[in-house]
Symmetry: C2
Subunit: 200 residues, 2 copies
DNA sequence: TCGCATCATGACACTTCGTGTCATCAGCCG
DNA sequence: CGGCTGATGACACGAAGTGTCATGATGCGA
C-alpha cells in the first residue's frame, strides 16, 4: 500500500548492482510496518522501498517474519552462549536455576537500542503471525537450556518441562516489558524465572 | 497431490446440496495428511476428496490448521470450564496450583479417542506451521488460568508468568505423550505442572 | 592492465493460502 | 403450492513463498 516514489536514488538495472545491506532493509521494513501496519505492508512494498527486487529480498529474509525476528538474533545468541558455557562447566554449586537467570540477563545486556527492540517486540506481541513465530525462533534456546539442565543433573523429562516453562515465562516477560515504559527488562525476567522450580 | 477419483459419489451441482458434516471433512483431512503429508496436501485436495468446493471448506475451517486444531476444541473447553468454576469458587483452601492440575486433568478426561488425538498431536509437533498455532489456540486457556490465579490472590505479574509457564509446560507434556506410546497422558501433565511454583 | 569466470541479482512464471463477490437452487414457512 | 432464506460453489483477486534463468558487475588470475 505505501506508495513510495519510483526508486530514483537506486538506478535499478539487471545484473549485479551494489551489494545489499540486510540491516538497512530490515530498518526500512520496520519503518514501513510502523507507518502502515504489518499486514498492510507487502514484501513487494518493502522491496520497492529498499530499491531491490522482491526475489532478492527473499534471499536475505526467507519469510516476512524474519524481517522482525532477525533483529532478535544477537540477543538470543548472547543468551545461548551463556547457557553453553554453563553446561560445559557442569553442575553449578548453588541454585541450578541461576544458570537460566544468567542466560536471560545476558540476552538483556546485549540489546543495542532499547527503543528499537521494544518496537520489534510490540509488533511481535500485536500480530499473531509474528508471535507464533516465537515457537520456532526460540527452539534453539530451549534446546540449549535443556542440555544445560541435563548436564546439571536434572532428569530428562523434568528438564524438558522446565525448558518449556522457562521459554514461555521469559517470552512473556519480554512482552510485558515491551508493553510498558520501564527502561530495564531485567526485573521482568527475574520475576518470570521466579515462577519456576525444580521438583523434589 | 493425492489424485482422488473425480467425485462420482457426490453429484456436485451448483446450488445448495446436502449439508456439510465438518467432522467428516476433518476426518478426510486427517487421513490425507497421514497419507501424503501436511504440506503436500492442499486445501483444494481436501475439498475434492470431501466432495465439496474449496470455498465451502474455508467456511467451516478458516485456515488449514483449523482442520487439526479444531479437534482439540472439546479438550480445551473442558479444561477451561474447570478453571472458570474454580475462579468462581474463589481462593482454594490448599495449593493454588491444584486448580491448574485439575483443569489439565479435566482436559485429558474428555478425550474421545486416544489414537486419533495422538495422531493430531504428532502432526502438530512435526509441523512448525501447526505448532506455531498453539500460541493462538491456547490463548483462551491462558487467559482463563490468569483469571483463576488472580482470583486466588496471586499477584498480577506473577499470574501472567505462571500462566505462560503453565501453557508451555502442559503443551510440552501433551507433545511428549503423543510422541510416546503410554496410554495415559495424566502422569505427563502432573510432571509438567510440578515444575511450577508460586514465588514467595 | 586486461580478460574471464563467478555469482549475486532481478525478471518471469508458478503454486497455494486466504478473501470477496455473486448467481443459483435446496429446503422450509406461510 | 409458491416465495424466501441462505448455504453453496464458480470466478476472480491479493499476497506469500519457490524455482528457473539470463544478465552483468565484481574481483581474480594472467
Amino acid at each position: 500500500m505505501p506508495e513510495e516514489d519510483p526508486p530514483p536514488a537506486a538506478p535499478r538495472s539487471t545484473g549485479r548492482p551494489a551489494t545489499i545491506d540486510p540491516d538497512a532493509v530490515a530498518g526500512v521494513a520496520l519503518r514501513l510496518f510502523a507507518a502502515y501496519g504489518y499486514e498492510q505492508t507487502s514484501m513487494e512494498d518493502i522491496a520497492r522501498a529498499s530499491g531491490i527486487g522482491r526475489k532478492s529480498l527473499y534471499r536475505y529474509f526467507p519469510t516476512k517474519a524474519d524481517l522482525i525476528w532477525g533483529g532478535m538474533e544477537p540477543v538470543l545468541e548472547a543468551s545461548g552462549l551463556v547457557l553453553e558455557d554453563a553446561r560445559k562447566r557442569g553442575a553449578p554449586d548453588g541454585d541450578i536455576l541461576s544458570g537460566l537467570r544468567a542466560a536471560a540477563l545476558a540476552g538483556a545486556a546485549v540489546i543495542p537500542d532499547l527503543t528499537v527492540t521494544r518496537g520489534r517486540l510490540r509488533l511481535i506481541a500485536e500480530h499473531p503471525d509474528l508471535a507464533s513465530r516465537s515457537y520456532a525462533s526460540l527452539a534453539p534456546q530451549r534446546e540449549r537450556a535443556r542440555l544445560y539442565l541435563t548436564a546439571a543433573g536434572v532428569g530428562d523429562d523434568t528438564a524438558r518441562y522446565l525448558c518449556a516453562a522457562y521459554i514461555g515465562a521469559t517470552f512473556e516477560a519480554w512482552t510485558r516489558w515491551a508493553a510498558g515504559m520501564a527502561p530495564d527488562p531485567v526485573p521482568y525476567l527475574l520475576a518470570a524465572i521466579d515462577v519456576l522450580r525444580i521438583p523434589h
